[in-house]
């Protein structure tokens, strides 16, 4: 039963409250209740129009606004609203009429000039649009100032833009445009990213329909490795603007890095369907198709990216990185032409060189392949930082803390779950193969390279005011801390899991220096060291252009040094934790698969399953460089590949010869 005494002011106030709370349906109900009694109330008709617009019910909104105008033809705000509804339906000519009428009735309407400018621009009346924008800006000093600072930002005067935008925000703390562009300015300078995120969060809280702010927030969150939050931000954009190709592409990226490749592929497909000539999106689409094992689809997307941007070296390298793919002659010629370009970016040049290395290796022209790999590495090394001395010191400190005595004294204090299986070693040493074997077991979930343990180690002692940091800070941990760190590892790794299988793998190779720590925080975790002939390990790294990290792989001496440090560290763990780490030699695995599978499973306390030998039949997403290789049956073609480049490897012979002498015979003689 309706209440006949609804107060107009109270009804409007409540409906506005619901609109602000993003509850347009409730606002609509209130307006309709009131209009049921007083159908001629133009304020309620206008608010109802807003509530309907918010629900994307544009024709109904138009109907209500036209009704309001029939009752009060000189209501400027309703003309403006009607103009907005018409523009939202792409009926720009009609919108222009309404917006001009609104301005004629009330020249100082704050947003009408901007909307008119947008409508005029949409119908190609550029000069008129400029004039409308000028009036819009002239009416508001903040908008004018923001436009000026955005111009500064575009012209490279970032500091001035930041200073100016901060002044605007001091004057008007709720200016969402100032928040957005200040965030953008911080982000461009790769500084104050925390502040940039906070600004964008405020802007989107203040204006939940501000797609432009959501879009930047999504990209920023992605860069800050907040993958799930990035997904939410991009979802907001595509909700607000379902045809925004950039947002679908961003959503695809976010899903992919968060390890939801199916959803990533879906989002990329939508982006490509809307706008097929965005090379970055095509490349992202190809990456995720590769992860899903759709090599043909990946190649098609890579080639679409090249078509859109022929100088996109990263795409050629990504194709080479499929490993089991051979370039066509035309593609090799195109790459050779590209690296002759004087205006080619350094990054593209490096990508082309690594891709050419692969192309000439496939042609068995190993000297030419080496030339491109070597020059690519030389150039890449100049762009990254790696300090071998710092690494050596760090390893020394780890060994001096995690001694046999320390490990004995602190034993049995950690979190006693048996779930994780760590696969450590050097990249390109067979860790993906070991992971795939384990992930083919019914009790094991293969995750990926989890960025958890290293961060956890770094957090130990982070806030100590006496300057003592990890690893020395570990000496002062209480019994309950070891357990808490184990629990923290489990909680954080849980985010990367999708099944409830009792065991899971973490195959970040660079975890090898943390064996002592992980033994203490997770005493029942299993550890496997994926090993390979050092020349093949090092060469595998040298031929690889990593997306990020692994900076030691771009110089032959750095690689040799790193391998020696790795070898020393693993010898230390063998000495202080005998039997804890299982060495799995790649050469033994590929020549004696079933026995090695049994050995790996036994170390992990798992029963033998035939599926682990047929690992290549296991369907799962694989993201690393070896993703295509582990989808093939076992093959021996990669054994001793270093011999093809032997004449270039004298340095490694000198530096690593003593390690080779300690290898099993099958590893030493591999490739002969």
């Amino acid at each position: 039963m309706s209440d006949t005494s609804i107060d107009k002011g109270s009804s409007l106030s409540q409906a506005i409250g619901f609109m602000r709370a993003n509850r347009p349906l409730r606002a609509e109900e209130l307006c309709r209740d009131y209009l049921g009694q007083k159908p001629g109330c133009t304020e309620h008709l206008r608010l109802l129009g807003h509530a309907l617009m918010k629900q994307s019910r544009l024709q109904e909104a138009e109907q209500q606004l036209r009704l309001a105008l029939s009752l009060e033809p000189e209501f400027p705000q309703v003309h403006e609203d009607l103009g907005s509804v018409l523009a939202m339906q792409s009926r720009f000519e009609e919108a222009i009429v309404e917006l001009e009428r609104a301005i004629q009735l009330q020249p100082a309407l704050p947003l009408a000039h901007k909307k008119l400018g947008q409508a005029l621009q949409a119908v190609g009346r550029g000069n008129d649009a400029d004039e409308a924008f000028r009036v819009y800006l002239d009416n508001d000093p903040d908008r004018q100032a923001i436009a000026e600072h955005v111009k500064q930002l575009r012209e490279g005067s970032r500091e001035e833009a930041i200073k100016g935008l901060r002044v605007v925000l001091k004057r008007n703390p709720d200016s969402v445009n100032a928040m957005r562009f200040l965030a953008l300015a911080y982000w461009q300078g790769k500084e104050n990213l925390g502040d940039a995120e906070a600004l964008l969060r405020r802007a989107t809280q203040q204006a939940p329909d501000y797609a432009g702010a959501w879009l930047i927030l999504g990209a920023l969150l992605l860069e800050r490795h907040k993958h799930m939050e990035a997904i939410s931000a991009y979802q907001e954009v595509v909700r607000l603007e379902p045809e925004n190709a950039e947002a679908w592409g961003g959503l695809g990226n976010a899903y992919s890095v968060a390890m939801y490749p199916d959803k990533g592929a879906e989002a990329f497909a939508k982006s490509v369907a809307i706008k097929g000539d965005a090379p970055g999106v095509q490349m992202g689409y190809a990456h995720v198709l590769k992860t899903l094992g759709d090599q043909a689809g990946a190649l098609a997307a890579y080639r679409a990216a090249i078509k859109a941007k022929p100088g996109f070296g990263e795409v050629y390298w990504s194709m080479a990185n499929l490993k089991i793919f051979n370039f066509e002659e035309l593609e090799v010629s195109a790459m050779l032409q590209q690296i002759e370009r004087e205006d080619l970016s350094e990054s593209a040049d490096i990508h082309f060189r690594f891709a050419l290395g692969k192309a000439f290796e496939d042609k068995k022209d190993y000297d030419r392949a080496w030339h491109y790999y070597h020059t690519g590495n030389e150039r890449q090394r100049m762009t990254v930082s790696h300090d071998p001395v710092e690494m050596e010191n760090r390893h020394k400190r780890l060994r001096s803390v995690f001694t046999r005595e320390f490990l004995t004294e602190k034993a049995n204090r950690g979190h006693d779950v048996p779930d994780p299986i760590f696969i450590v070693g050097l990249p390109r040493s067979g860790s993906t193969l070991v992971e795939q074997i384990l992930a083919s077991h019914s009790q094991v979930e293969g995750t990926s390279e989890l960025p958890v343990l290293g961060k956890l180690a770094e957090s130990i002692g982070r806030y100590r005011t006496d300057g003592v940091q990890y690893p020395e800070a570990a000496r002062d941990l209480r019994k309950k801390d070891w357990r808490a760190y184990g629990q923290q590892y489990m909680e954080e790794s849980q985010r990367h899991r999708v099944t409830d299988k009792p065991f899971f793998t973490d195959k970040l190779p660079n975890n090898f220096p943390q064996v002592g720590l992980l033994h203490l925080i997770l005493p029942n975790a299993k550890i496997i060291n994926a090993r390979r002939h050092p020349f093949d390990s090092c060469l595998g790294g040298y031929k690889q252009l990593f997306g990020s990290g692994q900076n030691f792989t771009y110089d032959m001496l750095d690689l040799a040094h790193y391998y020696r440090r790795y070898d020393a560290m693993m010898k230390h763990w063998r000495e202080v934790l005998p039997g804890k780490v299982l060495d799995v030699h790649y050469e033994e695995t590929v020549t004696d698969l079933e026995n090695q599978v049994r050995r790996i499973l036994a170390h992990c306390g798992l029963g033998f399953e035939e599926s682990c030998v047929r690992f290549h039949e296991t369907e799962r997403a694989v993201k690393t460089a070896s993703s295509e290789q582990v989808r093939q049956p076992i093959y021996t073609g990669a054994l001793g590949t270093w011999r093809r480049y032997a004449r270039h490897l004298d340095l490694w012979q000198e530096e690593l010869g003593y390690i080779i002498d300690e290898l099993p015979e099958v590893s030493r003689s591999a490739g002969l």
Binding site: Q14, F18, A21, L169, G194, D195
Partner: protein, 307 residues
């Protein structure tokens, strides 16, 4: 007769609906008396955000100070409004604390702590907490001048506590409880995300672990004295306002509001507004008083009533 005073906020409430208020709880009789109703408090509605309601509570002589989001109110012990103060740098205030002749307020929106002179009744001190990576830096400002910080709400500071060792500050994004010694800010203890009301207690820290629905005490020892007191479980069928929209704004069991009654007994709040007494030494719940069945109604400030 021991009494507690508590404030509650109702998230997402609209004009005409209850917005919570201030309540006195008689622990002997376990009875509740609402002493301020936000709706009838004579408070101007204009210009307020969605997060209405009363928050932190503190006392100075015959004055009861209660913070709202952007305003500080002073009441008599009979809850007659004496005065109220605003400051451009006070935004989304959560908790307040009195130390010597100052009242300190969290200005969550500005990542700052504001100082209010209890004798001159004016804002006279401001400290913005800047954070970069894992470092924190105090930057002083004059809350009466224009050169203050930007409103970022980066750390979501929700608690301030003072004692003779300094000021302790905690927020959802601080990573733990910070200590300000007058010159520098350092991490005193790392805490779980979603922490409220963190404060030093005995040789450790007492706080509401709102994400896990527990009130926790963690000491410096090996854990024998550590406690995780679960907030009372609520039969969700008996709650009001539990639509999908409401669930986005609030959830049952959200632990917030805390006051220390003795070395072993503490009181903690939860949503829907419930206040519970915990015996930490005995590791048991002593009693629980329910103030509301509205899912959105949550305890905010909680103190021992000194009058």
């Amino acid at each position: 007769m021991v009494k507690l005073v508590t404030s509650s906020v109702v998230r997402g409430a609209q004009q005409g609906e209850s917005h919570g208020g201030v309540y006195l709880i008689d622990l002997d009789s376990q009875s509740v008396k609402q002493v301020i109703d936000w709706n009838t408090a004579g408070i101007d509605w204009q210009g307020r955000g969605w997060d209405r309601g009363l928050r932190g509570i503190a006392f100075d002589d015959e004055r009861v100070y209660i913070a709202a989001s952007d305003e500080l109110y002073a009441y008599t012990p009979n809850f007659q409004l004496i005065d109220s103060w605003r400051n451009p740098y006070l935004k989304h205030c959560h908790e307040i604390a009195v130390w010597e002749r100052s009242l300190f307020l969290t200005s969550t929106g500005f990542d700052s702590i504001l100082g209010f002179d209890l004798d001159k009744h004016s804002f006279n001190w401001g400290m913005n907490i800047q954070s970069r990576l894992h470092q924190f830096k105090p930057v002083g400002f004059d809350p009466t001048a224009d050169e203050g910080p930007l409103m970022l709400n980066k750390l979501h500071i929700n608690n301030v506590h003072c004692n003779s060792h300094g000021m302790y500050i905690c927020g959802l994004n601080t990573g733990g409880m910070l200590h300000f010694n007058g010159n520098a800010i350092n991490m005193a203890v790392t805490l779980p995300q979603g922490t409220h009301n963190a404060q030093p207690f005995r040789d450790g820290v007492l706080f509401n672990d709102s994400e896990d629905n527990v009130l926790r005490y963690t000491g410096r020892g090996e854990g024998e004295e550590d406690r995780a007191m679960a907030v009372p479980e609520i039969d969700t069928d008996k709650l009001s306002n539990r639509t999908a929209e409401d669930n986005k704004l609030a959830r049952p069991g959200f632990a917030r509001g805390l006051c220390v009654m003795s070395d072993r007994v503490v009181a903690g709040g939860a949503s829907p507004s419930t206040v519970t007494l915990y015996d930490l030494a005995g590791n048991k719940t002593l009693l629980s008083v329910k103030l509301s069945s509205d899912l959105r109604n949550a305890i905010h400030g909680l103190e021992i009533w000194p009058y």
